[in-house]
């Protein structure tokens, strides 16, 4: 029975060697998509329709590349790599709805887009937890506890700053803070049991 070893962010989060290149290409695909999406919205606002199609195609190519690499990871059943891909996708896509025209179909799609990598993250995390042994589960538990505390403090700080007159924080970032908090928790718990 193959057990995932602990990596920098906890149980099984160290991806397999062969998945490294897939993750790099996935990140390149996401970067191409982000860049093209930003350009597409800018060009759409400017009303320059001649550039819209090639830029939209570039965005779709980036998305297809990221999707293909994620599919390769899924086929390899490398849950650690899938979790990393999910995190990267979620953090990358979380703010893109702001670039799209408000109330447009594009904005709705962009607002819902981060749910796809979030679901990928959750699914691979559950699968990893199922295969984890008792120490790995304990480390995950400690990491989640720390992530919760970090997110709670971030929420309280956000509320306090908002009350003090600072701009309203985007609540979508709370999920990202939770993920980062968990990552930090994995790192600390992992060091304890190394």
């Amino acid at each position: 029975m193959a057990h995932a070893e602990f990596g920098i962010c906890g149980p099984g989060v160290r991806h397999r060697k062969e998945s490294g290149l897939d993750l790099i290409f996935m990140a390149i695909g996401v970067a191409i998509f982000m860049l093209a999406f930003a350009l597409f919205t800018r060009v759409s606002r400017a009303g320059d329709s001649s550039l819209s199609l090639p830029i939209a195609l570039a965005a779709l190519t980036g998305l297809a590349l990221a999707g293909w690499e994620t599919f390769r990871l899924w086929r390899r059943e490398d849950d650690a790599a899938l979790m990393q891909a999910g995190t990267l996708g979620f953090i990358s896509l979380i703010g893109i709805y702001a670039k799209a025209p408000k109330g447009s179909a594009l904005a709705i799609v962009a607002a819902l887009a981060p749910l796809v990598p979030a679901a990928l993250f959750a699914w691979s995390a559950v699968r990893l937890a199922r295969h984890a042994d008792e120490l790995q589960r304990r480390i995950a538990q400690e990491a989640l506890a720390l992530g919760f505390v970090v997110a709670l403090f971030a929420a309280l700080a956000g509320m306090a700053l908002e009350a003090a007159g600072l701009p309203r924080l985007d609540w979508a970032w709370m999920a990202a803070i939770l993920v980062v908090g968990c990552g930090l928790g994995f790192l600390l718990a992992n060091r304890r049991y190394r």
């Binding site: 057990h3 070893e5 602990f6 008792e134 120490l135 790995q136 049991y193 190394r194």
Partner: protein, 68 residues
């Protein structure tokens, strides 16, 4: 909790990875138990004892136990 995991493993010339495979846990778990950073659950402690063909008290003993 103290344990004789390292000694018993060395007697059998098993690597940590080999023992981990027999116990169906990760190598890190074996290492954490050996170094005393992690106390295993009762089922895992029984599994460890069984793998070495010993009684659980021959492998593990509480910190304050008097030497036999």
């Amino acid at each position: 909790m103290k344990n004789r995991l390292r000694v018993l493993r060395a007697d059998r010339e098993w690597s940590q990875a080999e023992l981990a495979e027999r116990l169906r846990v990760s190598r890190q778990t074996v290492n954490a138990i050996e170094t005393g950073r992690y106390d295993p659950s009762l089922p895992l402690a029984f599994a460890v004892a069984q793998v070495f063909g010993k009684l659980i008290e021959e492998v593990f003993e509480p910190d304050g136990a008097s030497p036999k």
